[in-house]
């Protein structure tokens, strides 16, 4: 499989910069027309977040909201948003990246911009995403979490100083960190025919060591817990652009289940974004069924775990048969199991026995 490396990244940057400029121009015009400036955006209030069974993800409904400098309660978030847009423009035009935390601290250097804490600044960044209909990664704003990837995929960098340089993701046997450079890279070529997504570093390492990428002809992705958006986007690209089926492998507990679900159907928080969810991806374990069939070492569910399972049971994303069945089993047996639990049968059991059987059956 191969793809011509068209300069997607450059194009995306141009569009982002244009939309930021447009926002600025709009505000200038409003002021020149002697209006109090305002910004129109889709409402993010809970009653406007709807689960779309067709798209199989949360979306924002049709209600819009106007943030208006005439309204005294809006002045603060309006000003914060304009500053954040300015900061994003700086990042994009200088081709720099920043973490959410750095954005917050950068604002603290400004005399007139006030954030009570990072959550407020994170929230304004989401507003900007909604207003411009673009993910923050396009503005060069990333979270700090790090995930990793490994396998026969050749990428071409687009970050400054590395343009046109290529790397094959088997080059570093500890796994390749997913940061701004991987996220913005182009995918040039792969011989893999599937993607295995793993929640935990220990199992990711195990699969590399057991050459699972060769044995299953797979690209391995490590989410490091709840998958960062950039990693969800990479998973989606591998699925949509390259047609690779995605298999997700998590701890057998409500938190692991939900890590899989967020990759598949997205989160309510990101209801304003597309291109993050991968509805075709499959959660392949650790199931409650696996705990029974493989006699895995377990821990008891805590009260907190049980409460979370009950929440998932009624969540609109969990209507599918497999989810309902497995949630019921976890609740019935009152147990959970970690990925590493398979080590009881030896370190290689998971690649020798479990994964081949699972991939066969789903």
């Amino acid at each position: 499989m191969s793809e011509t490396p068209h300069k997607d990244a450059d194009k995306r940057r141009e569009i982002t910069e244009a939309s930021l400029k447009q926002l600025g121009n709009l505000i200038y015009e409003q002021i020149q027309n002697r209006e109090f400036p305002w910004i129109m955006m889709q409402s993010r209030s809970t009653d406007n977040i709807i689960y779309d069974p067709e798209l199989r993800q949360y979306i924002l409904g049709s209600r819009t909201t106007r943030r208006h400098a005439r309204n005294i309660r809006h002045i603060r978030p309006f000003t914060q948003m304009v500053w954040t847009a300015w900061f994003a423009r700086e990042l994009v035009s200088m081709r720099k990246t920043s973490t959410l935390r750095e954005v917050y601290y950068s604002a603290r250097g400004q005399q007139d911009i006030e954030f009570s804490g990072q959550p407020e600044s994170d929230n304004i960044i989401i507003d900007l995403e909604v207003a411009l209909n673009r993910p923050r990664e396009d503005f060069g704003i990333f979270p700090e979490e790090r995930s990793a990837i490994f396998g026969d995929l050749t990428i071409e960098y687009t970050v400054p100083g590395y343009e046109g340089r290529r790397m094959n993701l088997t080059d570093h046997p500890d796994g390749v960190m997913v940061g701004p450079a991987v996220t913005s890279s182009e995918f040039v070529e792969t011989s893999a025919d599937k993607v295995l997504v793993i929640e935990k570093g220990a199992m990711f390492n195990r699969l590399i060591e057991e050459k699972a990428h060769e044995r299953f002809n797979a690209i391995l992705v490590h989410t490091a817990g709840q998958s960062p958006r950039s990693t969800r986007k990479i998973i989606r690209r591998l699925n949509q652009q390259w047609g690779l089926p995605i298999y997700i492998f998590t701890d057998g507990d409500p938190w692991g289940i939900h890590i899989a679900m967020v990759i598949i159907s997205g989160s309510a928080n990101a209801a304003h974004l597309r291109d993050l969810a991968t509805p075709e991806a499959k959660w392949i374990g650790v199931w409650g069924t696996d705990i029974i069939d493989y006699k895995l070492p377990t821990e008891n569910l805590t009260e907190h775990d049980s409460k979370r399972l009950r929440e998932l049971k009624t969540d609109p994303r969990y209507t599918g048969e497999i989810w309902q069945r497995e949630i019921d089993i976890f609740m019935k047996i009152g147990k959970k199991a970690e990925l590493e639990a398979f080590s009881r049968y030896g370190l290689t059991y998971i690649v020798d026995e479990y994964l081949p059987a699972k991939l066969e059956s789903v």
Copy 2:
């Protein structure tokens, strides 16, 4: 600077395997002599952990202890230790690695080996380190934490399938993950003349993006919080083998201070190990003094922070002038600051102004 890649890794593996075999032989002999088998080791009880001002790290004192299968209270840890030694031998001879957690779950597959939880199994692994006077990394046992490294350093892999392959650590602009492959690699060549150790991913990314590795001619190391042992060992190798000075840059709070101190002087937990501490390394910030001089955005110290500062104040590792002075300042101003706080002066301030001034002054 360059180093002939002698096959250190192979030699280390042979020695490790020999010492594990020796332990097994000893036990066989004892049994054949109709004795209850026993293992002799240095005592790890707190009254045998001593701070050595010469070595500038904690060490174990001269008291030894005998774990004896005749003693009913010793049978459990004795058996656990023999099983762990067997497991380590398997790992070494198959050239595999394992996480601490996988060791625990592997034990759960055994009928007669019982661990009440992972802490008990982690503890027995430390016993094995003490008995054989070798770090668990030599047995192929690693924690799950991940740190990263970046800069002009060429390494040569020794892990199976990659022997003799080289990588330059500037090849991946998101930073190169430190796992078993980097840890066991040989350092072939570098043009760097110093090492900057950074506690946090955001700042590590920032330094890469601002080309700090070129501007300061430095190798950048990201510890991801409290530095894993393997990363401390890498820092020490860069300092001792290559003569590179080490500068550590952490959050300005008691937890950041202690991240620096553990790199410099080690921890009580690892008093039985050498080759982890780097006494010559310098903590360069964020100091309490920096908070004042640079008017950094701060948070108030919590009660928990203050308590920790009082503990550090009387810790034997903290007798040096700079530590006492900075602890006093933090206590006096009652404030702390994060690395990202410098962003208030712009994203590049830290590399344009702060770091050059700091490196000049220490």
